[in-house]
């Protein structure tokens, strides 16, 4: 008979988010935030953590292990919803201070403390983990560590800036905070962020052994102490600012600059940095950028929520058309665990699809040969279209030709399962025109992906009001969620939402260029506003022939004016990136910098002119009910075009500037 050495919960009933037990002289502190799917940190949680540390300090135990009581992961970071409600700077100050105090108390516990991490460990979650003596992680793809605060326009604010640099040195810690990228378990072990990376089956016993054996704690190497000297800090900070400047402007994104300043001014060796961090994060929290980026976070969640995964379980996706778009859609779906068949009349086209897919898999999974193998096994070339009969989702992605598409859908409808989603990836043809030939035109839905498929998160779910079956629309949204895209229902109308809004912006750029404003100046005006790409570079990337084609359709239907320059460029065979020449010269898919950039016009006026086209068209789309409301429009434009996230979307920008 083994005796039961586990105590009951030692914390009082007042604790809502934590429980504490002792087993074999080791304290186990479990965090399980009430009424939340994931552990998110609110002021309440911070207070409880602080109090729980007092309780633990009173215990006579060999050590403490902090773990999550949720299967979803460790700690997801600060509760952005609550954080957003903190509009009063004093309240915010109290919250930050409480976080600092709780983490300090955790760090000051005299016994060895271990953060036992399984699943995500993000933001404030990682800051709490960093306050423990040791961090050990489960070696699984779902375990990810990150300090993504910069994406919300702030930086870590619970002492994480100090502790991360002390633990792994400024050269490794800063990139984590400046990019907000996920760190995978083995990577985390390699850089010293965590002490051990073990399979789940060894996680608990490893945590116990660490408490019992007390190995040397992780610390930044001695060499990095040198970097903490004031003169070195100045040099490194300068370098880092230069790197950041190439990605984000200070007036748009102040947080990374504030983070660099914070370290440069204090150095992680000094405890002064804690107080300075609190002050800095408070200042950042009050900026428009932070407010808008928090808005983007919620817009993203809103789009995510539009796809209810439980509505539909797609297992097999059949893609028709082995061009770049069809091939990339197929490869993407294969990586999301779907069985995928890709159909084309040409074996050579299918060969190119497989080649591109393999390159994509290898780029994404690096040396993880097992995941590469799984993705490859999921993808099967299908010359004869056998996959149609068993597919749950069928996506047509051939060239833009109505008759060709119609003949495909006639065939598809005859062969497909009665409950399969039948979809087109058309970007310019009306759904109702294609569906004409179908026995059940209400089945056809648009699944409009954006190029490059691997990078663009938005998926337009195109429907014809009162025609497209509502269940099909919902299932298509669900499919979007299953393949990790953000689904946005849009009414079928020329250009749908994204192309419709982008086209006037592109065409205005062309007109401006036609008026004699240098190409680089036109694009710079837009990039200065915060657009990821100027209108002329975008035109080159999309292809001038496609711009012309879509432009013509929009000119006929929604009253866009078409500049004459586009016609003559296309007639001259200058199609942009794909032909090597458009508004720019292109070599091996890389833009060659244009030398002419002297212009003495009013750049602000030019910028206003370009952006106005975009915001005006946005307003028109909203008026026409292309999407349901302004938030969804903003969400679509941000995730579909990369529109300046710090401005919170075009409609938000208009409201703010008023």
């Amino acid at each position: 008979m083994s005796k039961n050495l586990i105590t009951a919960n030692l914390l009082s009933e007042e604790y809502q988010h934590f429980s504490l037990t002792v087993e074999d002289d080791i304290a186990w502190l479990s965090i399980d935030v009430k009424d939340e799917g994931a552990n998110v940190i609110s002021p309440d949680v911070v207070t409880e953590l602080d109090n729980a540390c007092d309780e633990i300090a009173k215990l006579s135990v060999k050590g403490m292990i902090l773990l999550s009581g949720k299967s979803s992961g460790f700690i997801a970071g600060a509760d952005v919803k609550k954080f957003r409600e903190l509009t009063d700077p004093e309240e915010a100050r109290v919250f930050i201070k409480a976080g600092h105090d709780a983490c300090q108390k955790l760090e000051d516990l005299k016994m060895p403390t271990v953060a036992m991490v399984e699943g995500f460990c993000m933001g404030g979650g990682l800051e709490i983990a960093l306050s423990c003596d040791y961090i050990i992680v489960d070696d699984s793809p779902s375990t990810k560590l990150s300090l993504p605060e910069v994406n919300l326009g702030i930086h870590p604010g619970f002492g994480g800036t100090v502790r991360s640099i002390r633990r792994i040195g400024v050269m490794k810690a800063m990139p984590i905070m400046l990019t907000g990228k996920n760190i995978l378990p083995r990577q985390a072990k390699k850089m010293g962020l965590v002490d051990m990376c073990v399979p789940l089956r060894q996680l608990k016993s490893s945590a116990i052994q660490i408490v019992l054996r007390k190995p040397t704690k992780k610390q930044a190497p001695k060499s990095s102490k040198l970097l903490e000297l004031k003169p070195m800090r100045t040099i490194i900070a300068m370098q880092m600012r230069k790197q950041v400047a190439s990605k984000a402007k200070q007036e748009h994104y102040p947080a990374p600059y504030a983070l660099i300043n914070l370290w440069e001014a204090n150095g992680s060796a000094s405890d002064e940095m804690y107080a300075a961090e609190a002050e800095s994060v408070l200042q950042l929290g009050m900026t428009d950028t932070a407010r808008n980026l928090a808005r983007v976070f919620f817009l993203q969640n809103r789009l995510k929520a539009l796809g209810d995964k439980s509505l539909f379980t797609p297992k097999h996706v059949h893609v028709i058309g082995g061009g770049v778009m069809g091939g990339d859609i197929a490869a993407w779906c294969a990586m999301q665990g779907m069985k995928v068949t890709i159909q084309d009349l040409s074996a050579d086209a299918l060969g190119r699809v497989m080649g591109r897919a393999m390159t994509g898999f290898k780029r994404r999974y690096r040396k993880d040969t097992f995941r590469i193998m799984q993705a490859k096994d999921n993808l099967t070339p299908d010359l004869n279209g056998h996959g149609i009969a068993s597919a749950d989702v069928i996506i047509e992605a051939i060239y833009e030709n109505l008759e060709a598409k119609q003949s495909i859908f006639k065939d598809v409808e005859a062969k497909a399962k009665p409950d399969a989603i039948i979809a087109t990836n058309t970007s310019s043809i009306q759904l109702s025109d294609i569906a004409k030939v179908m026995k059940k035109p209400q089945r056809l839905v648009g699944l409009h992906f954006f190029n490059p498929v691997f990078k663009m998160p938005l998926l337009e779910i195109v429907y014809t009001p009162k025609k497209t079956n509502v269940t099909v629309i919902k299932q298509a949204q669900s499919f979007g969620a299953h393949i990790g895209k953000l689904p946005l229902p849009v009414k079928s109308s020329p250009g749908f939402l994204i192309n419709r809004i982008l086209m006037p912006y592109i065409l205005e750029g062309v007109t401006a260029q036609q008026e004699g404003i240098p190409v680089a100046v036109v694009d710079k005006a837009a990039v200065d506003y915060g657009m990821p790409m100027g209108p002329l570079e975008l035109a080159d990337t999309v292809g001038l022939d496609i711009c012309l084609n879509v432009g013509k359709i929009l000119a006929d239907t929604v009253g866009v004016t078409l500049p004459t320059a586009l016609d003559s460029e296309v007639a001259a065979g200058k199609l942009g990136k794909k032909s090597g020449e458009g508004f720019y010269q292109w070599k091996n898919g890389k833009k060659q910098d244009s030398s002419k950039n002297d212009w003495n016009g009013d750049i602000q006026q030019l910028q206003d002119r370009l952006i106005e086209k975009l915001t005006n068209e946005s307003q028109k789309c909203l008026d026409e009910g292309i999407v349901e409301d302004a938030d969804l429009l903003d969400a679509g434009v941000i995730f579909g075009t990369g529109f300046a996230p710090f401005r919170g979307g075009p409609m938000n920008a208009v409201t703010e500037s008023d």
Partner: protein
């Protein structure tokens, strides 16, 4: 009289419902682009795609493979999992040298016939170009000593014992094609047959030229729609058997030097089967499975007959197995419309034809009262064979069964026999019938 009778009456009919193979890609002196499992997937994934059932509906996967790589232990199970058959789909790999693919089909036929299964994927694969190089025994011993050396001094001492010849690799392919009992290379056993049946170099070369011309004609006529294209990781497509030489002639072949019995033998690389990579997969079903999934059979399959003979004359295996097959089914040579005898060597196929029509051989070696008869040339290997398209050893048995079934269907014929010689001194043969 056979020593053992492996036959037990069939209790249920068994059908071939579909099959596919990869193009056969000739080994070009370096490891090929596709490993055995990639080849097996290349045949099986497109095959499964056109079935109205899922891989998880299969009762078993049985695959023949003679030389799996170090990562491909029980390659059948790897295949079962990677085609999406799920954890519960069982699978095993069989090895009967050159007849491994036929062995896999035979196991499937017998299991279904006796009611142990209803739906089986069977086939075979080998990536001959990727046959491993092994460390020789001296090197293996040296390495175990070296790994055992704990101290620096011991390691230095061990290193001082390392000798140049230790580095000479053992070429698994060459060892695999050499009989370990009589010490003869497979090519030398073919020389034995040429000697015994007095087959000339020109006759062998002529047979080989015909094989290439027949395959060329079959390609043109579209008789090889059993092939599914292979796609490599760089995006290249492989559509066709690439060992074929449409411009082959006896004059050209005469220039080649004998490879096995140097300098004056007759068997050359050109009148032998090619060293090739490829896979074949078949779907084999009971009548119940056919009804359940709405399948259309292309042929009825019977259990294979297996026969043993001297390893030094292994190429005559088909003669022994064929005579048993005819006896088992109470058929004569005249009842058979089409024949596939795997072309391990031109001389070996020719020797089988001669032996079956030779009164002495039939009486003394096969125990028959009269000859089996002359297999008509125009009914034997009508679309070429291993001399022109190659012989991935684990695959060929399954390939000839599939191709024979397709030929019977195409020609609206009733019965055919597929047969192979087997290194080590055996023969295998299977009666394939219109469904």
């Amino acid at each position: 009289m056979a020593k053992s009778n492996t036959q037990k009456p069939m209790t249920r009919d068994v059908y071939l419902v579909d099959g596919a193979r990869t193009p056969f890609l000739k080994a070009r002196g370096k490891p090929g682009l596709f490993s055995a499992i990639e080849l097996a997937l290349g045949a099986s994934k497109p095959l499964m795609l056109r079935q109205p059932f899922e891989a998880s509906d299969l009762d078993e996967v049985i695959y023949g493979c003679m030389m799996p790589s170090e990562d491909e232990a029980n390659i059948a199970r790897v295949l079962a999992l990677r085609i999406g058959g799920g954890d519960k789909l069982t699978a095993y790999t069989v090895q009967r040298n050159c007849a491994s693919g036929m062995q896999a089909v035979d196991n499937a036929v017998r299991n279904i016939s006796h009611g142990y299964a209803d739906l089986i994927m069977a086939g075979g694969v080998d990536s001959m170009s990727r046959a491993p190089l092994l460390l020789n025994s001296d090197m293996t011993h040296w390495l175990s000593g070296f790994y055992g050396a704990k101290t620096f001094g011991a390691k230095v001492k061990a290193i001082s014992k390392l000798r140049g010849p230790f580095f000479a690799p053992v070429i698994a392919l060459m060892r695999g094609l050499t009989d370990p009992v009589v010490g003869l290379n497979m090519g030398q056993t073919a020389e034995n047959l040429a000697y015994r049946f007095n087959i000339s170099r020109t006759e062998m070369d002529q047979y080989s030229v015909d094989s290439h011309l027949r395959l060329t004609a079959a390609m043109k006529a579209g008789h090889l729609d059993e092939i599914e294209p292979l796609y490599d990781d760089k995006g290249n497509v492989y559509n066709e058997d690439d060992g074929v030489r449409p411009d082959s002639s006896v004059e050209k072949l005469a220039k080649l030097k004998p490879f096995f019995d140097k300098p004056y033998g007759k068997v050359t690389p050109a009148n032998s089967s090619q060293i090739t990579d490829g896979a074949t997969s078949l779907i084999i079903a009971s009548e119940d499975a056919i009804k359940k999934h709405g399948l259309t059979p292309i042929a009825k399959l019977n259990a294979a007959q297996w026969a043993g003979l001297s390893p030094a004359e292994m190429g005559l295996g088909p003669a022994h197995a064929i005579s048993k097959t005819l006896e088992e089914h109470k058929l004569t040579q005249k009842n058979i419309d089409y024949w596939e005898i795997n072309e391990a060597f031109a001389a070996q196929v020719q020797a089988c034809v001669l032996a079956l029509n030779d009164a002495d051989y039939c009486k003394n070696e096969l125990g028959l009262s009269k000859t089996v008869g002359q297999i008509p040339e125009d009914r034997l290997n009508v679309d070429g064979g291993a001399v022109s398209l190659g012989h991935p050893v684990g695959t060929s048995g399954a390939r000839i069964i599939l191709h024979l079934a397709n030929t019977l269907q195409r020609e609206n014929a009733k019965k055919g026999i597929a047969s192979l010689c087997i290194g080590g001194g055996q023969g295998g043969s299977m009666l394939v019938e219109a469904p």
